[in-house]
């Protein structure tokens, strides 16, 4: 019978918190960059200019058809070399965090762009006509009239995607980057208490994501009424 021993967790909490900060950092950067880039992709996809629309469609389909873990690996291999070549960085500089952020942002943008595209299309066509009729340019109509309404409709979906993203950040373990999951794994291996640490990490992910989903659900109900 396996004897559970949780004693290594309290002492490891500061280290685990450092890991959590990495996870949150990656999540935050990927959400912000993903939404910005995703909005641009969605606007390209909906534009009448063939090449822009094809590029956006190709991008979205590519990233949605490749496993995230593979995208991350590509970026761990490519981005450091790229950064070294462009910025003349020392080969020993740790670029894993930057690579992870870039990889997640580009990957998430593909998903965000589909949510945002649906959001833009959910705004009635008459609203665009009204904006144009008042003399607004395409950019003004988008910024002042369409996107604010689209984002309002999309908030629950965007937050749900953010929760999935937070869970997915654990995949950075492929680069041995110490995010929350990676930190828990390392502590577990060091102390020979992998089972306890992974159970604990799972419980933390569960509490955070479940609470966040609950908030999203409440928000959604608030919107619907």
């Amino acid at each position: 019978m396996y004897e559970y021993d949780w004693s290594s967790i309290p002492g490891a909490l500061p280290y685990l918190w450092e890991g959590m900060k990495v996870s949150l950092e990656i999540t935050f950067v990927a959400i912000v960059a993903g939404i910005v880039w995703g909005t641009l992709l969605a606007m390209m996809r909906l534009s009448n200019l063939g090449p822009l629309s094809w590029f956006a469609a190709g991008y979205v389909n590519l990233f949605r058809s490749v496993p995230l873990v593979m995208v991350l690996l590509w970026f761990f291999l490519i981005v450091p070399q790229f950064l070294r070549a462009v910025l003349g960085l020392d080969p020993t500089t740790d670029t894993r965090l930057a690579s992870a952020m870039v990889g997640f942002a580009l990957f998430e943008a593909a998903y965000y762009s589909e949510i945002i595209r649906a959001g833009i299309q959910s705004v009635p066509k008459g609203q665009v006509a009204a904006a144009y009729a008042l003399g607004m340019t395409y950019g003004q109509a988008m910024r002042l009239v369409i996107l604010p309404q689209a984002f309002r409709n999309m908030v629950p979906l965007l937050l749900t995607q953010a929760i999935i993203l937070f869970q997915d950040t654990s995949l950075v373990y492929v680069s041995a980057l110490a995010d929350f999951f990676g930190a828990a794994y390392k502590v577990g291996e060091r102390d020979g208490r992998l089972v306890e640490l992974l159970l604990f990490a799972g419980a933390v992910y569960f509490v955070i994501c479940y609470s966040a989903s609950y908030v999203v659900k409440r928000l959604h109900q608030g919107n619907g009424s």
């Binding site: 144009y132 009729a133 008042l134 003399g135 607004m136 003004q140 002042l144 309404q149 309002r152």
Partner: protein, 242 residues
């Protein structure tokens, strides 16, 4: 003021507008009517280039709509338009609806725009609703705000695309009253509507469209007296006998 010259438009192989031509003088009120699907809404949307057309030209205040070099946003800013479904911006208060284009398109200061917006809101009898959102107003009230919004841009002419057809019957008159007042002030107006009472009261001319063609373009008295085309007679007999 508005000169429509031989305009034709196709959706794929289907021709929605067939060689439409007419003139609207400054200060003139022209009602466009006809059965649904006759192309009247499409025609009025061509006037401010919300709908493109393949042949012909429309010249508004000396500016060609079809010319690729025309700055369309600038042209549209001077042409007021009122839609069937109001199209107020639901995420903005009534005041913001009235000021957004004034500040962002015309570059007016916020104070000036607000002052102008509230004055127009008062004119359509809705001053008390300035801080509400469109969703809190009735259809008739929303349409009156939409008219005020269009007027806030100091338009040289106004286009109305079936402004009362989405309204409950008891709200139609409050909107028509505002439009009648506007007509009496000498505003140039092109109005797509089935409200023949409005046409009788203020229109100078009536245009009757059928199957994408302008079938009749006559002075009001002539149109209601003795419409020449059979289609127009039939149409009038159908909508006037109720």
């Amino acid at each position: 003021m508005i000169s429509i010259k031989n305009v034709s438009k196709w959706y794929g192989a289907f021709q929605v507008l067939k060689d439409c031509s007419t003139e609207i003088q400054k200060g003139e009120v022209v009602v466009v009517c006809g059965p649904s699907g006759s192309g009247k809404s499409t025609l009025i949307k061509c006037v401010n280039a919300l709908e493109p057309f393949q042949q012909g030209d429309i010249v508004v205040n000396g500016i060609s709509v079809a010319d690729a070099k025309t700055n369309l946003p600038r042209l549209r800013a001077r042409v007021g338009m009122v839609f069937q479904h109001f199209e107020l911006f639901p995420h903005m208060t009534i005041t913001e609806n009235l000021t957004i284009a004034q500040t962002k398109v015309l570059g007016r200061s916020k104070e000036e725009a607000t002052q102008k917006g509230l004055k127009l809101l008062d004119r359509v009898g809705l001053k008390a609703h300035a801080d509400k959102y469109p969703g809190q107003l009735s259809g008739g009230q929303q349409q009156r705000v939409a008219i005020a919004r269009a007027l806030s841009m100091d338009p040289i002419c106004m286009l109305f695309d079936e402004p009362t057809s989405a309204l409950d019957p008891e709200m139609i008159n409050e909107v028509l009253d505002v439009m009648v007042e506007l007509a009496h002030e000498g505003m140039t107006m092109m109005v797509v509507t089935h409200e023949m009472g409005f046409a009788r009261k203020v229109a100078h001319r009536v245009i009757f469209m059928d199957q994408g063609r302008i079938v009749e373009d006559a002075k009001k008295e002539e149109f209601f007296g003795t419409p020449r085309s059979e289609r127009a007679q039939l149409f009038l007999s159908k909508i006037l006998h109720h």
